[in-house]
């Protein structure tokens, strides 16, 4: 058996895991890994311009492909720059394997140059992490890392490898099987619980499905659809659940929660059964917990037992993989119709349409986003940042392409949109990828335009430029007496910026230019930045004020202004 270096062992394991891309930046502590790259031509290394982007790109790649995304960085600042991206993946349960070089093992703990205790730093934001101090442990560690990242509730795993361990030689033994006795995620739901769930569904008159990221992560699209159609249950998708159920389906109701559809928030408050599938009853979805779904029994299906009962009381918990549980549940579910209930929700919807766009001459952000959706065809992918543009993008997404809506949900990471779009385009080279950007978020990670142009990724960037940190402006306006502080945002000339990077740039300042600009961007073979100068003071509605219950959701600003009594404290 030939001897291999630690670095070769890592690469060999990555190759056997089927890794196609590594996003990263070299530095002193991971040079041995780079030294082996020519031996593994099947793995492409993408040199990003900041390690945060490496993590986000790998994160988005993982969301779209279902495989673990891989990023790496050198020790110290390289590793700490990954932290935001790792936390983002952790909050959204995305499988990520991060490999960091560490200072040589005899310098660990001595504050050596570019030393950071990255395993200590990332404990709360990784599913597992390792500091490998023996080259003979490397193969097993990498194998375990992929296993842990991709099974159960997925999440990021970090492996920290001192430079000397990367250089040491040993015999390579690939562990064909991974067996971690203390880690045996439950995937099959308990049959008794599944029977009880079927019984509750049969008894329900006003049932609702709340589908979350778990549906997308488990690729349980068909199973969810079967359940909804069989028992005639309307489906609401959380922000990260969007794309888990066909948007054009008659049972689809859109997003709930803080900026969700008014009818959904009311329906949740009136429902007698909530079926939470692969979601975690986040505060942005539930509003004030004690008033959440006051009339409903709750079935909660999730692969993570710790989510059961964490936020809401549950009548029937089912721990297991969403796809497996639904496959077992569906045959037990009695076919039913809930026409009166569906009609009732549609009546609320008619009275409170939530997402009508005023017919004005100004360029409204929601108008731009809706046009992008209309003109982009059924197979496009949409990546967003965080803030107002993200909420509009979520509200107006009624597409059918499964898993095609990629956004930073739990952590709410501004700047996600640029590197994540890159990750999606690498994963889906033939498909159209839109990055719907905030002008604030774009300026946080726009350095990655260099990477994108370098690799000729034909991503279309729509900067929803309202000259503000829009969501913060809205909160200062509503909850801090319109005392606007530090939200006006100077911005560069994005057209010139695009050209400086070698991309095409377009500017839109008038409503009639919106459609032609989108069409022009779609015709252009390379990356395009469209700078949409939109109405600066447009607020996002509906809105459930922070600390309020779903039933207190305000549908439209006029109503809100009349009804707005006292100042509501932010939470």
């Amino acid at each position: 058996m030939t001897k291999m270096t630690g670095a070769q062992i890592v690469m060999e394991c990555l190759a056997r895991e089927g890794v196609e891309y590594i996003f990263g930046i070299p530095g002193g502590a991971n040079l041995p890994l780079y030294d082996t790259l020519p031996q593994y031509p099947q793995i492409r290394h993408i040199l990003v311009r900041h390690e945060q982007a490496a993590a986000h790109a790998a994160d988005a790649y993982a969301r779209v492909t279902g495989k673990a995304g891989v990023c790496w960085a050198t020790s110290g600042p390289g590793a700490t720059n990954l932290v935001t991206g790792i936390a983002n993946a952790s909050m959204d349960s995305v499988p990520l394997v991060c490999i960091t070089g560490a200072v040589v093992s005899w310098l660990i703990g001595r504050d050596g140059f570019q030393e950071a205790d990255i395993t200590g730093i990332t404990i709360p934001i990784t599913k597992q992490n390792y500091l490998v101090l023996d080259v003979d442990d490397l193969a097993q560690t990498v194998r375990e890392a992929f296993h842990i990242a991709t099974t159960g509730r997925p999440g990021p795993v970090l492996i920290d490898i001192p430079r000397d361990i990367q250089q040491q030689q040993t015999e390579f033994h690939y562990p064909e099987k991974v067996d971690i006795p203390s880690y045996r995620p439950v995937t099959k739901g308990h049959p008794g619980q599944i029977r009880k769930a079927a019984q509750l569904i049969a008894e329900a008159e006003r049932p609702l499905i709340l589908a979350g990221h778990g549906v997308v992560l488990a690729r349980a699209y068909d199973e969810l659809r079967e359940l909804a159609e069989r028992a005639h249950i309307p489906v609401i998708c959380t922000l990260l659940g969007i794309g888990g159920f066909p948007g054009s389906h008659e049972l689809y109701l859109g997003m709930p929660g803080m900026h969700g559809m008014y009818w959904n928030n009311i329906a949740i408050s009136e429902a007698d059964l909530i079926i939470g599938i692969g979601m975690r009853f986040d505060d942005r979805v539930t509003g004030r917990l004690k008033d959440f779904a006051p009339n409903a029994r709750i079935i909660h299906i999730d692969v993570d037992p710790a989510e059961i009962g964490k936020n809401v009381r549950t009548t029937v918990p089912i721990v297991g993989d969403v796809k497996e549980v639904l496959s077992d549940l569906n045959p037990l579910v009695q076919p039913a119709r809930h026409d009166a209930w569906c009609r009732h929700i549609q009546e609320i919807r008619r009275e409170h349409p939530s997402i009508t766009i005023p017919n004005v001459d100004k360029v409204l952000p929601q108008f731009v986003i809706k046009k992008i959706y209309e003109l982009s065809g059924p197979d496009a992918y949409f990546v967003t940042g965080v803030g107002q543009h993200q909420m509009w993008a979520a509200q107006f997404f009624w597409g059918d392409n499964p898993g095609s809506f990629v956004t930073s949900g739990g952590l709410g990471t501004m700047g996600f949109e640029v590197p994540a779009a890159m990750g999606v385009q690498f994963a889906r080279p033939k498909d159209l990828v839109w990055s719907i950007c905030g002008d604030g978020g774009f300026q946080m990670t726009m350095q990655e335009m260099a990477t994108i142009v370098e690799h000729e990724l034909p991503i279309k960037f729509a900067i929803i430029n309202n000259g503000h940190l829009g969501m913060v402006r809205q909160w200062q306006h509503l909850f801090y007496d319109d005392n606007l502080q530090a939200v006006r945002l100077f911005h560069p000339d994005y057209v010139k910026l695009a050209e400086a990077f070698g991309a095409a740039g377009l500017r839109v300042t008038d409503k009639i230019e919106v459609e032609p600009a989108i069409e022009k961007a779609l015709r252009h073979p390379g990356p395009v930045i469209i700078d949409f100068h939109v109405e600066q003071h447009e607020d996002i509605y509906p809105m459930m004020p922070p600390g309020a219950s779903l039933a207190e959701t305000v549908d439209q600003p006029e109503a809100e202004r009349e009804a707005k009594p006292e100042k509501v404290r932010s939470s």
């Binding site: 395993t119 200590g120 404990i123 709360p124 599913k127 597992q128 500091l131 842990i148 067996d179 971690i180 006795p181 203390s182 880690y183 993570d304 037992p305 710790a306 059961i308 009962g309 964490k310």
Partner: protein, 189 residues
Amino acid sequence: MTKHTIVALVEDRPGVLNRIASKWRQRGFNIESLAVGHSEMAGLSRMTFTVDGTTTDVDQVTKQMYKLIEVVKVTDLTEHDMVHRELALVKVAANPQQRSAIIEIVDIFRAKIVDVAPESLIIEVTGTEDKIDAIFEMLRPYGIKELVRTGRIAMTRGAAAPTSVDGGKGEHHRYRPAGEGKPKVGSLL
């Protein structure tokens, strides 16, 4: 019952205690005492800790701990018939005139004197927290110089071993009974 006694079986690997403590801190769990040491299986440590059930969701403590890869088993012994003990060392001021009175207290509590010096004694006492509190109060008038307590350790009565892997049969290949080969890594820190 507000005080919960929980026993966790965890792998002896560097950083594990850090992970567990980090989880408790992150989730705001109010942990009152913690005692850790090797278990009957090489490579596994057993920790006993107590949680105040009025301020902390004990169910979440268990579930969150299971999310840690190295945590093998978590058992809430509160509802079990269990034996629980704490050990304390008390250094008490004692001149020759006071010694016999202190020895009387030590005898009543079935404690032990483990060190004698001209002006002090070290008393070793084992028992429930109440018993240790009681002897502490009795000794206080003489002048307590130092007190150190281990925190509660606990075990269920009877033959069953609910806190062990496979109920104590030790069938799993990765874990060997203590003494059969040395553990690969023996530190939780």
